[in-house]
């Protein structure tokens, strides 16, 4: 399990490696009225944990379509469908919000970092100035990094944290703004896989699969992608986004992508070897 906390003012994530919990595989006890509790067969342990982040919520409605469909409604509805479908396939799905409430972006990231999840998927519905914009899009962190975003192991700081039982534990402190940088390549692979699956149920938009400096992903310390399910500013896609059938198709595509995802480094294409550096001095 990963434990994550934010140090106020310092912008650090403390990542502590602990033993994976077994509580999820514990058998369920149910009591039917007037009878002794019955032990149900234990469900198979979940193969993986995924955090789904329904974008916006509460006062933050996100984009609003011409007929009034709100982004925050679409993202929550699809997130709940993903959870229902994925749970049936043995995947443990956690949502960053269960209802219509506003959750700060950093709080969503902190939740994901403490969940021991394999991937983080932030769901959104898009909008643009033209009603003609259309299509789903998938983004991962990167794109045009400013010079400030340069991550290396040297950015990490090792701290000794005292334990309540005595002694201390060595933990790695990752700068808050750099948490996603080290997962960006794996996330880019996952983004392509999500794009491939989504394309089977919805056309892809102007940017299709791309990389950008997206705030919902910045502080997430696991492979993370942001999925735009379609344009609610497009009247046809707004209607689709509010419909059960399309929401189920989108949710199924996301579940298929997460089940096919292997976060091991071998999926990440290697950079071609650099030629030996030559001295520029003349």
């Amino acid at each position: 399990m990963l434990t994550t906390m934010r140090c106020g003012g310092h912008g650090l994530i403390l990542t502590v490696s602990l033993v994976a919990g077994g509580a999820l595989a514990a058998p369920k006890m149910v009591a039917i009225s007037g009878q002794a509790p019955v032990e149900l067969p234990a469900a198979p342990p979940p193969s993986m944990t995924v955090v789904i982040d329904p974008g916006h919520g509460g006062d933050d409605r996100g984009a609003v379509g011409p007929s009034g469909i709100e982004e925050k409604q679409v993202t929550l509805a699809v997130a709940q469908r993903v959870r229902a479908l994925a749970t049936d396939r043995g995947v443990r799905v956690l949502l960053t919000r269960e209802d219509d409430r506003q959750v700060p972006l950093m709080q969503r990231a902190a939740f994901a970092n403490g969940a021991g999840a394999a991937v983080f998927i932030s769901l959104h519905a898009n909008a643009g100035p033209s009603p003609l914009s259309s299509g789903a899009e998938v983004a991962s962190f990167g794109g045009v990094p400013p010079s400030a975003i340069v991550s290396s192991p040297a950015d990490d700081r090792t701290l000794l944290v005292p334990l309540t039982a005595g002694g201390s534990r060595r933990v790695v402190a990752v700068p808050w703004e750099l948490a996603q940088v080290r997962h960006a390549e794996v996330a880019a692979v996952f983004a392509r896989q999500v794009g491939d699956r989504l394309e089977r149920v919805a056309p892809l938009g102007p940017r299709a699969v791309y990389r950008s400096l997206l705030r919902p992903l910045t502080a997430v310390s696991l492979p993370a992608v942001l999925v735009e399910l379609g344009y609610v500013s497009n009247p046809e896609e707004e209607k689709l986004a509010a419909g059960d059938q399309h929401q189920m198709a989108l949710a199924q595509a996301l579940v298929d992508a997460m089940l096919a995802f292997d976060p091991s480094p071998r999926q990440v294409p290697r950079q071609p070897p650099r030629p030996a550096s030559r001295s520029k001095s003349r």
Partner: protein
């Protein structure tokens, strides 16, 4: 005889007054000093030089930004020129292209530091009135950043501020908490050619 002399003098005065008025009108029309209602002269308005700058608006196809050439006053320094460029970017778009900066957004300030980072301080409407969507948000940011960096060679990055303060995002997606570099990937051509006016 006396009556004739009085009439001749009166006619002369009227003629002189008419000549003087006509001369005054001609003088004003040719750029002479303006006369105020109180009769006090004010400094002459010097003709203002203008330059064409590149401003970015939304493509009607919905696929990105298109570049438009717009005339703005030539200003004596980078800060004032930046303000003029941004006023054009915040203004009404030309026919055939779309607004990507929320209506009502005004410029509070513009300055450039010694590292080549420009700071664009906008009023709260840029967030409060933003229609949302990561694409729409990306267009807003790129339109402002690209307008500054394309026309002011001294500027490499742009930090957006809202009401004088740094913000995480404008609409919940794109990270603008740090200076942003220009993004030409969002600039598209329409009909096979760049829309340059």
């Amino acid at each position: 005889m006396t009556l004739w002399r009085i009439a001749a003098v009166a006619a002369g005065v009227v003629a002189l007054a008419a000549f003087g008025w006509a001369a005054l009108l001609i003088f004003q029309a040719t750029g002479g000093p303006a006369i105020t209602v109180t009769g006090e002269p004010v400094p002459a308005a010097t003709p203002t030089a203008h330059i064409n700058v590149t401003i970015f608006f939304g493509a009607s196809s919905g696929r990105g930004l298109v570049a438009s050439r717009i005339e703005v006053p030539l200003e004596p320094n980078v800060a004032a020129q930046g303000e003029a460029i941004l006023q054009a970017a915040l203004g009404d778009p030309p026919a055939g292209v779309l607004r990507v900066v929320p209506i009502g957004t005004r410029l509070r300030g513009f300055y450039v530091d010694s590292r080549g980072d420009a700071f664009v301080d906008l009023t709260s409407e840029v967030r409060a009135a933003h229609p949302g969507g990561s694409f729409g948000e990306a267009l807003t940011v790129a339109a402002l950043v690209n307008a500054v960096t394309t026309n002011l060679r001294a500027v490499r990055r742009v930090q957006l501020l809202v009401e004088g303060e740094e913000v995480e995002t404008l609409a919940g997606h794109l990270d603008v908490s740090q200076p942003v570099v220009p993004d030409s990937s969002l600039v598209v051509t329409e009909g096979g050619r760049a829309l340059l006016r």
